[in-house]
C-alpha cells in the first residue's frame, strides 16, 4: 500500500432505470444527485468538483457539448469544475475513477460522479445506430454490427463445446431477472421459467430477448469524499481503468483490469463477498466468473450450478439484477453498480440483501475495438469495521 489518503463512497443515489418519455435527462440527473447528496449528508455547495458521464446525449438528445454543465446546473451544481466524461458503457465508472483520484490527490475533500442517459427517443433504429458508435466506426460502418452478436460470438465456443447448455443460458437469466424483480430501481425483473426464456424471440446466436439488456433511461450518482458516511464507512480499495484493442481474439482487457484491481487491493477472488458485473447479455456473466477467477477456465457452468452466485450463495453476483434486469442506460450503469454495492455493504438492499459482506467488486465495460472490449473499469469497495 502507498501512503495516499483514503477515498470513501460517502453517498449514492439513483433515478430508477426504465422508460421515462416524460422525464428529461436533467430531471433524472437532479433526482440521482439529490439522493446521493442526501445520503452523504451534504448540500450541493459542499461539492468541490463534478464528473458528468453520458455517452449518447449528443447524437440522441441533441446536446453534443457541455452536457455536464447543462444537466448539473439543473441539480444545483454550478460554479465548480465540471468535467464531461464519455467512455461508452463504461462512462459512469470512468467518472468515478476520476473523482476518486481527485480525492486521493488531496485536491478536493469531496467530488461528485454522475452518470445519466436517455436512450428512448421514439425511434429504436436511431438508438441502435447510436450504440454502434461505441466501435471504430471507420472499420465497422456497413457491417451491421450489433453488440448482442459480439456477445453471442464470445459465448459460441462454450455453447458449441457443451460447456454451457441452453439450460445454463436460461437459468442465469432467471437468476438475474428474479434479483431485478426485488430491485425497486430496476427496469425489468420477473419470475421466469426456463421455457419462457428459451421460447422468447431469439436475437443473435442462442440469445433471446430476456437474456439481453434493453434500451433504458436512468441516472445514478456517487459522492466521493475524504470522510465517510456518518453511519457506514465504505472505502475505495481499488480503482482501475484499462483499455483494450491490443489483445485481439484473446479479449484480455477485462482480465487485465481485474488482475490490476486484485493487486491494487491486495486481495484475491476468494475474498469477494458480492459482485456486480457488466452483463449486457445475462449469459456473458459465465465468462466473467472465469475472468474474475471465481472458478477455473471452462468451469463457469458448474460453478453457477453450485448456487454460489445466487442471492443466498457464497459470492452473489448481480444482486441488483445486473444490466439485463436493472436496465442499461449506458452512461449511468457503472454508477448504478456502485450504488448497489454500497447498499449491499451497508445492509440496506431490502429483499435482495446478501449475507453480511465486507468486500465488493464492480466490473463495467464499454465499447468494442479490434476484437476486444474497448474499455474496462473495475472498482473494489470495503466496508469498515
Amino acid at each position: 500500500m502507498n501512503d495516499r489518503r483514503t477515498a470513501y463512497i460517502r453517498g449514492v443515489g439513483m433515478h430508477p432505470f426504465g422508460r421515462f418519455p416524460d422525464v428529461s435527462l436533467r430531471q433524472m440527473t437532479a433526482v440521482a444527485v439529490g439522493a446521493a447528496l442526501d445520503d452523504a449528508g451534504l448540500g450541493p455547495d459542499q461539492i468541490e468538483a463534478a464528473y458528468f458521464a453520458n455517452s449518447l446525449g449528443g447524437v440522441l438528445n441533441g446536446q453534443e457539448a457541455i452536457r455536464g454543465e447543462v444537466n448539473l446546473h439543473h441539480a444545483g451544481i454550478s460554479e465548480i469544475p465540471i468535467v464531461n466524461v464519455e467512455n461508452a458503457c463504461a462512462s459512469g465508472s470512468t467518472a468515478l475513477w476520476n473523482a476518486i483520484r481527485l480525492v486521493w490527490s488531496g485536491e478536493v475533500e469531496t467530488a461528485l460522479a454522475v452518470g445519466a442517459e436517455k436512450l428512448f427517443v421514439g425511434d429504436t433504429g436511431r438508438t441502435l445506430a447510436a450504440l454502434r458508435m461505441a466501435t471504430d466506426v471507420e472499420m465497422t460502418q456497413g457491417q451491421a454490427l450489433q453488440f448482442t452478436a459480439m456477445y453471442a460470438m464470445r459465448l459460441q465456443e462454450y455453447v458449441q463445446s457443451g460447456l454451457l447448455t441452453e439450460r445454463h443460458l436460461a437459468e442465469i437469466t432467471i437468476k438475474n431477472q428474479r434479483n431485478g424483480a426485488l430491485n425497486p430501481y430496476a427496469q425489468f425483473g420477473a419470475d421466469l421459467t426456463e421455457e419462457e426464456v428459451l421460447a422468447a424471440r431469439r436475437i443473435a446466436g442462442p440469445l433471446t430477448i430476456p437474456m439481453i439488456a434493453g434500451i433504458s433511461d436512468g441516472a445514478a450518482a456517487a459522492v466521493v469524499s475524504s470522510t465517510p458516511h456518518a453511519d457506514a464507512s465504505i472505502a475505495v480499495r481499488a480503482s482501475i481503468l484499462a483499455t483494450g484493442g491490443v489483445d485481439g481474439l484473446n479479449e484480455g482487457v477485462v482480465r487485465r483490469a481485474i488482475s490490476q484491481a486484485y493487486e491494487s487491493a491486495d486481495i484475491g477472488p476468494a475474498d469477494l463477498d458480492v459482485v456486480e458485473v457488466h452483463d449486457t447479455t445475462a449469459p456473458i456473466e459465465f465468462l466473467y466468473y472465469e475472468d474474475l477467477g471465481l472458478c477455473a477456465r471452462g468451469k463457469a457452468g458448474a460453478y453457477f450450478d453450485s448456487g454460489a452466485t445466487q442471492l443466498g450463495g457464497a459470492t452473489p453476483v448481480n444482486p441488483s439484477g445486473g444490466l439485463t434486469a436493472r436496465g442499461h442506460p449506458v452512461g449511468a450503469t457503472g454508477l448504478a453498480q456502485i450504488a448497489e454495492l454500497v447498499w449491499q455493504l451497508r445492509g440496506q438492499a431490502g429483499e435482495r440483501q446478501v449475507h453480511e459482506s465486507r468486500l465488493a467488486l464492480s466490473q463495467n465495460s464499454g465499447g468494442w475495438l479490434d476484437g476486444d472490449t474497448a474499455v474496462c473499469s473495475v472498482h473494489v469497495l470495503e466496508r469498515g469495521a
Partner: protein, 121 residues
C-alpha cells in the same frame, strides 16, 4: 480508405510494420506490437477463415435480417469483424467481396471445390 485495388481484384488496406513485421488492419501510425513508427501501407486478403460468427434476426444499417456476422482471420494474420454473405461455420474459408463504389465489403463462403483446389496446391 478501406479497400485497395490490386490488379483485377480488391483487397483490404492495412499496415505492415517495417521494424517487427506485424500486420494490422487498419494501418496505424504506430505499431501496436513494437511501438515502431515505420508502418507502411499493405494490401491484405482476399482469403480468410471464420473464427467466430453469429446470426442476427433484427435488421439494422440497411441490412435485412436474417444476416450473419463474424470474426474473420485473414491469411496474413489480422482479424476483423465483418458481415458474412451466408451462414458460415467455424473454420469456414471465406473470400472478400465488395461494392467498391459504395465502399462496402463483406465475405463470401469459398466453395468446397475451391478449398480442395487450394489444399492441392
Amino acid at each position: 480508405m478501406r479497400l485497395m485495388a490490386d490488379g483485377d481484384g480488391l483487397r483490404l488496406a492495412g499496415g505492415l510494420c517495417a521494424d517487427c513485421g506485424h500486420r494490422m488492419i487498419p494501418q496505424r501510425a504506430v505499431c501496436p506490437a513494437c511501438g515502431g513508427a515505420r508502418v507502411g501501407l499493405a494490401a491484405f486478403g482476399p482469403d480468410g477463415v471464420v473464427r467466430k460468427w453469429s446470426d442476427l434476426t433484427v435488421s439494422v444499417d440497411g441490412v435485412e435480417a436474417p444476416y450473419w456476422v463474424g470474426l474473420v482471420e485473414l491469411a496474413e494474420g489480422p482479424v476483423l469483424f465483418v458481415r458474412l454473405a451466408s451462414q458460415p461455420e467455424v473454420g469456414q474459408r471465406v473470400r472478400l467481396a465488395a461494392d467498391a463504389a459504395a465502399d462496402v465489403y463483406w465475405f463470401e463462403a469459398v466453395g468446397d471445390e475451391a478449398s480442395a483446389e487450394e489444399e492441392g496446391k
